[in-house]
Symmetry: C2
Amino acid sequence: MGEINIKRLASELNLSAATVSRALRDSHEISAETKARVMEMAKKLNYEPNPFASSLRRQQSKTIAVIVPEVANNFFSLAIKAIEEVARAKDYHVLIYQTHESGEIEASFMTSLLSGRVDGVLISPASHVANKEYFQKVSEKMPMVFFDRDHADIEGVKITTDDYDSAYNATQHLVDAGCKTIGYLAALETLTTGKKRLQGYQDALKNNNLKCQPDLIVSNCENNEPCHSKIKDFISQQKPDGIISSIEELAIPCYYACKELHLNIPKDLKLITFSNLSHAELLNPPLSTINQPAFEIGNEAATILFKMFSKRWYDPNITISLKSNIIKRESTRS
Amino acid sequence: MGEINIKRLASELNLSAATVSRALRDSHEISAETKARVMEMAKKLNYEPNPFASSLRRQQSKTIAVIVPEVANNFFSLAIKAIEEVARAKDYHVLIYQTHESGEIEASFMTSLLSGRVDGVLISPASHVANKEYFQKVSEKMPMVFFDRDHADIEGVKITTDDYDSAYNATQHLVDAGCKTIGYLAALETLTTGKKRLQGYQDALKNNNLKCQPDLIVSNCENNEPCHSKIKDFISQQKPDGIISSIEELAIPCYYACKELHLNIPKDLKLITFSNLSHAELLNPPLSTINQPAFEIGNEAATILFKMFSKRWYDPNITISLKSNIIKRESTRS
């Protein structure tokens, strides 16, 4: 049995596809009798309307939403820039919404999108999540693409980076630079993104015959204020000679902590971080980074979203992974 | 003659205010005859509907728009954070829109707001402007507040900082540190903001009996790419011993230019910039900044916007100026 689409319905009913389509959307151009016939056949054949059809028909807002945890972040601002370029070429506006890592705020805004204020969504989900139903609801209503971050248990189109490999390679870089006690500043722990980064770190330690002590992993430190003292305590108590920061926001507190503890980077402690900080090179000392292809991720995600709009995208459940690269600077010099 | 409002119309017509209000918005609950009577009287008395009334009546989007040139900027991301806090307490969503300094993009988005997708607007206008009609149109339709940046020839509620004083004091600081040839990296030249900053610099030079040579002012360098070489050429040709950067984005290229020209900051060249860069202290050398009260500006602007929503704000044309402060660091040490 083939796919039940409007064409199939039309052929069964001996009507044109245009007539069936109009009947399904209750157009005044179609008689009540024809509508009834179409509805009956649709029910009989278990016709599932294309979930994007209603927004495709509208497509009047000419607006897409980009939902991110934070705009004050070089990765996201670059990704958004790329998204805007793609959207502008299609004459679309891009609205940006910040969740500040709150699942509640994310849920509330995404639910508000169901009223149809935008035609599609690009989302990098918050790390704190309550329930995830709204992802499903929104994706049934309009095209949606995950970028950078995702949840393993939610299906969808996902543009990510090689989180596992990046963390593995960064750890290996620290080992090669002579580090024996490598700390890990964890973040995004509820997300696939964070889990893969942690796994890469752990596997690299094991493969280098270094113990992977739980004490060396600092969890839950992405909330602004307490994170500075948490990191400072960690450094002074565990005395790591290397640190991998799994997000940009945790690397800067390391600089301050080392200053206060009179530790020299890289002599006493080597530091590398996931980051697209534009002036990492100007810091004292210049900061080694795992550079994600932020612009490319934004570009790819937006391009696919517009293909969904024009029905030129057929894979509702695919993960595309782009490569990051490590930029070695003074902060990890051996 | 008193103000012509709905109450006055109601009393003239011997109707209740509610009936007049419903008639004016063409409610189906009111008879055609009554509507005609109300319209006639409204015309006769030159009744001007409250420009915010229609959005106040709706107020269903529960959303405000924040229009900024760029989110990848510490000033704007802080201001937005404050706006979001105020909005969240009122159960409103905040949509962010970037103009990238283009008046055309700004006009296109603001015009799209006329369809009523948001209840109010906070805007820091783009530096490039074609015509400014849309400001007027939007402000007739819904509450609008300018923050940080504004145009002198557009009326409205404006929350700014002491741009003149800040630039004057920064220049004085460089003079006090021993600078004789002080360059100025201009930006926002079409905006009151940029004009006041430039004036503060020029007046401080004059009052210190330093010549204010046009060669020392670098104009039009806010567009990303060419700005680096423009600044490098300026430094190598004019040999300034001090530079004031009128926006954050122009300070970073100075660091790179000095590196390439083998100039030492602050020995060969002292540098101070308008900036809310959170890790100015971590740069090599730590960067002196004119710190605008970004959070306070956002907070004040949003608070006034919500007062406008609830009709508790009565001054449609006021400028509130908050104070910036200079943070002296290594980059201007004498």
